[in-house]
């Protein structure tokens, strides 16, 4: 097992905010919009440096998505920011018609995705957004794993023409990917090569997969771990290559089992190469209040559950 260490933990949303500060200087056409969540999205420095390129929409996300679409017509690169819950389900039709169908170069950048938003509870814990956005034609869906990768992804999508759903989170998680990484949209990132099982993870569950991999290695199980930061387009070639070698797969996401990364992988395997699969995901339920750590355990998303799923899937080979 390749050794991964981290010297600090940070929230992924700070990766977004710090990238926006840099984009403020490097990309004069980048405009930020926010629906009354500036502090949560960490974009205060961007606003301070470029007040004329910040648009406060108030608590009105539908209008924000439309304005973002309109800004692209004049050549701007708008980042429409809010919580994932309010930047997906609440405004699905606005994104569908004014952004995706209209092929507008809008970056929907959303924080506080999933259970680990924590104490605010299920009203704010969106666990269906990847499914919704995956189903949307013309939408690129990105879910990076740590601070550095979120920062790299935020910068990369500015140079990509087309609508993007960029999802990150509230909790502080280990920073283990390199600061100078090149972010390639749609390209899987090999975390660890192995032969017994493929663990495909997205978001901060990549770190849980690494922790699981270390324990499994001690037990003589050699896990291949793949970080899928781009849910759509999915790097099916990398997934198939790995599963053809290991013959089984565990998918890990902070999302419903229905319609997320696991289903995207299952769709690929069903068409190309049948293999047993186990899901680490939320099983058709809403979340609840609690600390991020408590919720990860209660809803079965932590490394302990990944280890169990790996053993189960290997037994099914």
């Amino acid at each position: 097992m390749k050794k991964y260490t981290f010297t600090e933990s940070k929230d992924t949303r700070s990766g977004f905010g710090d990238a926006m500060t840099e984009l403020g200087e490097s990309h004069p056409n980048v405009v930020a919009l926010c629906a009354d969540l500036v502090g949560s999205l960490k974009i205060a420095p961007f606003i301070k440096n470029h007040p004329e390129r910040f648009i406060q929409t108030g608590i009105a996300e539908a209008n924000m998505m439309g304005i973002a679409a309109g800004l692209t017509i004049g050549g701007k690169i708008p980042y429409a920011t809010t919580f994932a819950n309010f930047g997906s389900g609440r405004v699905y039709d606005q994104i569908r018609q004014s952004i995706a169908y209209s092929d507008k170069n809008v970056k929907i950048a959303v924080s506080h995705a999933g259970l680990t938003l924590g104490e605010d509870g299920a009203t704010h814990q969106i666990l269906e957004d990847l499914a919704m956005m995956r189903a949307m034609p013309n939408m690129t869906v990105i879910n990076p794993c740590d601070y550095n990768q979120t920062k790299a992804a935020t910068k990369a999508v500015a140079d990509f023409e087309g609508p993007v759903y960029l999802r990150f989170g509230r909790p502080v998680v280990p920073v283990f990917t390199p600061a100078d990484q090149k972010f390639e949209i749609g390209k899987a990132w090999m975390v660890n090569e192995g032969k017994d099982v493929t663990i495909i993870a997205t978001g901060h569950l990549v770190w849980e997969a690494i922790k699981a991999g270390e324990v499994l290695a001690e037990q003589g199980i050699d896990a291949e771990i793949i970080n899928i930061h781009t849910i759509k387009p999915l790097d099916t070639a990398a997934i198939l290559k790995s599963v053809k070698k290991t013959k089984c797969v565990v998918t890990c996401e902070e999302h419903q089992a229905n319609g997320g990364l696991g289903d995207a992988v299952a769709q690929t395997l069903a068409k190309e190469f049948l293999a047993p699969q186990e899901y680490i995901a939320v099983n058709d339920s809403f979340g609840e209040s609690g600390t991020p750590e408590q919720l990860m355990v209660k809803y079965g998303l932590d490394s302990k559950n990944i280890i169990e799923a790996v053993k189960k899937v290997i037994a099914r080979k």
């Binding site: 405009v31 004329e52 390129r53 648009i55 929409t57 108030g58 009105a60 539908a62 209008n63 924000m64 998505m65 439309g66 304005i67 973002a68 679409a69 309109g70 800004l71 692209t72 017509i73 004049g74 050549g75 701007k76 708008p78 039709d93 606005q94 569908r96 018609q97 004014s98 169908y101 209209s102 092929d103 507008k104």
Partner: protein, 288 residues
């Protein structure tokens, strides 16, 4: 352009609308006919449009619309009107109007950029979204130092959508004063009169309270009144407030039996009805 000529264009556009809707046995003639005068006035008189000709002798359409006025149709079901005006204005050939709502057409049931039809800058049809997009385009113009204006046409039934009021609140707060909204007050919607279905009450007072500079065009089916009203609206721009025109129209205007009710919101005329309609709308330019 002199007004007699522009009246002829409006009559021909009305002919196009009823023929297009008849040709595919579907579509929305009522609102399209009611808004004909204002949209013809915008495209043939009021708006600054890039007239550079490109491929096939048609207007060389640029999505960014820099140095032009922009128009957004929020009530996208009046697409036959929009397509006829765009074709007659020179964005694409009038013969393409015959493909309206048919398979493999660029003239989809509701307007879209997706098929690459020149003249269209955003999809519309799901109501309530156009004003937000227009605001964004207007703000981009300000950021670009582009002094031209953005026009957005909405329906009165559409005012029942919540997003309309998010946009209504936003534009005055941010002093988006290069923006002219137009509400087509034909008083009708699918299920009946707006009064009956969901009263808008006093739209003038509402928009004023939200901070708009509100004006009226009482005779929305008099093209000279539309031209005069649009000139006035332009004079009101640049003064720190967005401008809203309340446009009083008659659904189905120009075809007597389509007027006076919501019945012709979304149905097509049969052969006899088409003939009766065309008898009231002499061909002034060549038919497509």
């Amino acid at each position: 352009m002199q007004t007699p000529e522009i009246k002829d264009i409006a009559t021909q556009v009305r002919r196009d609308i009823v023929r297009m809707v008849h040709g595919c046995k579907s579509g929305h003639p009522g609102g399209s006919l009611g808004c004909t005068d204002i949209v013809v006035a915008l495209y043939f008189q009021q708006m600054k449009i890039n007239n550079r000709k490109g491929k096939g002798g048609y207007i060389s359409f640029k999505m960014d619309g820099i140095d032009e006025d922009l128009f957004f149709l929020s009530n996208g079901h009046t697409s036959p009107l929009f397509y006829s005006v765009l074709a007659r204005r020179g964005y694409f050939g009038i013969e393409e109007l015959s493909t309206f709502r048919k398979l493999n057409s660029r003239l989809q049931g509701h307007p879209t950029t997706h098929e690459g039809l020149p003249g269209i800058r955003v999809a519309s049809g799901s109501l309530g979204q156009g004003m937000s997009v227009g605001i964004g385009a207007a703000m981009a113009k300000k950021l670009n130092g582009d002094k031209n204006l953005v026009y957005v046409l909405m329906g009165d039934g559409e005012q029942q959508e919540g997003q309309v009021w998010e946009a209504a609140q936003f534009a005055p707060h941010h002093k988006v004063d290069n923006l002219v909204g137009i509400i087509d007050l034909n008083g009708q919607q699918i299920d009946g009169s707006t009064e009956q279905v969901m009263s808008n009450r006093d739209l003038k007072a509402k928009y004023k309270a939200f901070g708009w500079n509100v004006m009226e065009i009482k005779e929305g089916n008099n093209i000279e009144a539309c031209i005069a009203g649009l000139r006035k609206a332009k004079r009101l721009t640049g003064k720190g407030q967005p401008v809203m025109i309340l446009l009083y129209t008659e659904m189905g205007a120009g075809v007597d039996f389509m007027m006076g009710s919501h019945k012709w919101h979304g149905i097509a005329p049969n052969d006899e009805q088409l003939a009766a309609a065309l008898a009231q709308l002499p061909s002034t330019l060549a038919d497509y």
